[in-house]
Homo-oligomer: 523 residues x 2
């Protein structure tokens, strides 16, 4: 039984650290009166939260990397760069490390991570690549926070900033890019480092920002490493089924029976829910803390787990978003496939997603909805304004419930929820995307689009070289921006090679930059 | 005697058609209590007005060109593209001609003039080049109006749009570019012409917009002809003396005695003004309609004439901004140099500038200040917000009074006048400019910067090739965007050749575009 669902395309994964006993809060889960609501994919920024976790242990810092040392500073940033209205400034937080920087005289490079939808400290901790390679480049490291996230709140507090559509109205990618540009320009002026080259880094939405920043501000940054950046996930540039088809493939490649069990489980879920005491029985089967009101809520919770699992399907154990084993989808499918005879489909499903929600085994029960996150979060707003990413679930290739994307319903929901009208064609008007190869073949340079094909966001990214200097690095076995993570001894060979290629390309940009300066000075 | 002066860098020349008996209104002229105020250079858009002229004859359309046929349409444009605040829409006017367009099936090109600071009909009439070449390209012609000019007024009327700093706050170049991008995207969608290549044209500030648009929106337009576009007239990219030095050179090259007479006239003016009945005598000498209050006002009026003359120093008679003979500076200098003995310096100066203000001989007296334009005009606002162009007048090379640019006084004046704080470093942050050759050598393509060295704005433009496809066409004898004007039988050979080169380059962009489409379809 296929029923229409509401995909809210909020691509971050905020606040997930808090929810060892709870489901990822989503706009959809709040729309309990909306019959077609369902969980929708978000990026991983969701897991970046500065609010105190509800459950005892927040995920530990990745291996407590010693490389991560920074000073925290604040920059008084304009709320509105594109009008001269009398809007207040806000304090943009940024993390800075200059200990390896060779300084302005030697034109030491500046490595600049384009902060995305979450607390910047979390991104700094999970972007080990920048910390590892900066010393060999003699580079300064900057991690600026994205406006409206972490501590970088307009109007003084999150409550004020998120009060209504008017206070949120300046939460846009263009304003964030202008923040970055102004910050770099000001910092360089203050340090007399105007001549120093800037290299951009970013993962996920941050990778989109990095790529767009290089395209829009070539005078500010000489190149960008855009990892897992789905800049093509708009309008009809890629088929709307892409995301869920990739998630589904990631399960099917592990086990077709796992894929089939999940695919069949939705009907089972609904059938069970309709039985007398069905919801109570489901509450018990899934160890929920509160009695289930609707099978939709449970479906959202499950779909959420599968999608996140596909993103973080890393080859080694990690505590990136949740403590997880290496190859977590393999582990989930082992549970789903391999339970003793007589175990029901839904019991096996529960055992499977427990890998995701409860790998440490400490959760006694699960909350489907995180009360603390019922209010608007930033990515929900962004998804309802600019980041309109159409997503469907196809009948055959997807293991999810069938769903056809419907822009009108989406717009209605956004109006109901945020009092704002999405602009579904704005991103491609402002940043392009259609026919990207033709547009950028002889325009622009120095962008790396790195992707792993296990990552459901890879389908909306750039997977082919566009030109000699706008290149795609595609790893078959990669998940969501794994290349940006700290290196580990367990890293597979392809990952070691991919990072080496990235370093080589960045070296090439810098060499060319220095050569041109030199020939200019020699003239 | 050199005294400090206030340069307000409003680069348009709005409303000048109306002022056969009046001086070009300028912010400076309104600041009569400000001792250092003076006239400041503006672009030619000033002459584009839709308000009825005070004096009988408005300049006739250039030769009543039959090519200029268009339909006038309006597009409901967002007031603020970069926030999701609940701002109203406004009607953007655009002129469209499709009679030569070969249509979407044949991917007929779209020639798009980036409307600048004035009434779009005036720009259409004075951009004959586009009308002349479009038919041979089978191109559609679009002339969209710039927001806050002509009929394209937010809030329903100029009075409302220009009411205060808050209503004016959306008058920015970035918003105007976004207007263009959205208009093109929407029009293409409606015409199913998404595949059709757009070529941008623009002169002066419109040329700056064309160049910036190609750089910021490469997915929207394949190339830009940016004529007389001083995109480098910001901060310290070019010396602040550049503009007035070029004006002065344009006079000196005609006659060094003319240059010297003008250079000496300022002291004479002040000395005469200080005499008993001096201001009354000056009023008489200069045939002013009202008694002079201050020699500053008269100095502004004279400086204005010299600067405009340098811009429109065309080799043939034209009625572009005023009815003028060919080589008007030569004519002015002939008057200044050649008057009968016994004629005073100031009488000769008056005879000289009468070539500019009264070539038709119909004016009986002159107004220094145009009452109708005492309010804020758009370019004054733009100059006080983004378009902060530092300009000085040097002691030796300039024939104008010596003046050192002072940002603080400028900012104070803007605050006093418009209740707004200029952002002097914003344009270079948003659009670049420093080190343009290094930035764009391997980034971007298909821009022609055309300039004439007689034009004082040429000094702030791009005068050297940046790369193989970002090129400079420099004509020694050219004035302000003469290449965009209708061809005439009197056109000098270099101008004929320059236009032929421009056509060839545009053909090259289109050919490459079609080739790439073809190879894509062949694949």
């Amino acid at each position: 039984m296929a029923k229409p669902k509401y995909f809210h395309l909020s691509l971050s994964l905020l606040l997930f650290i808090t929810i060892i006993t709870s489901s990822p809060p989503s706009l959809a889960s709040r729309l309990s009166n909306f019959p077609s609501s369902r969980w929708a994919p978000r990026f991983l920024g969701k897991f970046s939260t500065s609010s105190p976790p509800k459950q005892p242990q927040p995920p530990k810092r990745q291996q407590q990397q010693p490389q991560i040392r920074y000073e925290t500073r604040y920059f008084a940033q304009r709320l509105d760069h594109f009008s001269f209205s009398d809007s207040p400034r806000f304090q943009q937080r940024y993390l800075i490390n200059t200990e390896h920087w060779v300084g302005p005289q030697r034109l030491g490079p500046i490595f600049f991570y384009c902060g995305n939808e979450g607390d910047i400290e979390w991104f700094a901790e999970n972007t080990g690549f920048v910390w590892e390679v900066a010393p060999q480049f003699g580079a300064m490291i900057l991690f600026p926070e994205h406006r409206y996230y972490g501590e970088s709140m307009p109007y003084g507090s999150k409550d004020e900033a998120y009060k209504n559509a008017s206070t949120l109205s300046f939460l846009t990618a263009e304003q964030a890019l202008a923040d970055f540009a102004v910050l770099i320009a000001e910092l360089k002026r203050n340090l007399r480092a105007e001549g120093c080259p800037v290299v951009l880094f970013g993962g996920s939405y941050g990778g989109m920002l990095a790529a767009w920043m290089r395209l829009k501000y070539p005078h500010i940054a000489i190149g960008a490493l855009a990892s897992s950046a789905p800049i093509l996930q708009f309008e009809d540039i890629v088929p709307p089924e892409t995301f869920y088809d990739i998630v589904s493939n990631s399960f099917r490649r592990e086990s077709s029976s796992c894929f089939n069990t999940i695919k069949e489980s939705w009907d089972t879920l609904v059938t069970e829910g309709k039985k007398q005491n069905g919801l109570r029985q489901l509450t018990k089967t899934f160890h929920l803390c509160r009695e289930l009101n609707s099978t939709d809520d449970l479906a959202n919770w499950l779909e959420s787990a599968y999608s996140y699992l596909a993103m973080v399907n890393y080859p080694y154990a990690a505590e990136f978003v949740m403590p997880l084993p290496g190859h977590p989808i393999k582990e989930v499918c082992r549970k789903i496939d391999c339970c003793p005879d007589g175990t029901s489909t839904l019991e096996r499903i529960f055992e499977g997603v427990s890998i995701f929600y409860n790998y440490t085994g400490q959760a006694k029960c699960f909350e489907l909805e995180d009360e603390s996150d019922v209010g608007t979060d930033g990515w929900n707003w962004q998804a309802c304004t600019e980041m309109v990413m159409p997503m469907s679930s196809s009948r055959d290739a997807s293991m999810f419930q069938t769903y056809d994307y419907n822009l009108s319903s989406f717009q209605e929901e956004c109006w109901k929820d945020h009092n704002v009208k999405p602009r579904p064609t704005w991103i491609t008007t402002e940043f392009g995307g259609h026919d990207i190869k033709a547009t950028l073949k002889s325009f622009g340079s120095n962008i790396i689009f790195s992707n792993g094909l296990l990552d459901p966001w890879s389908g909306g990214s750039v997977l082919q070289n566009v030109s000699e200097t706008i290149v795609a690095l595609v790893a078959e076995e990669g998940a969501h921006h794994i290349d940006l993570r700290f290196s580990k001894k367990e890293d597979p060979e392809w990952l070691v090679e991919q990072r080496a290629t990235e370093i080589k390309l960045i070296e090439g940009w810098l060499e060319k930059f220095y050569q041109e300066r030199k020939s200019k000075f020699d003239m």
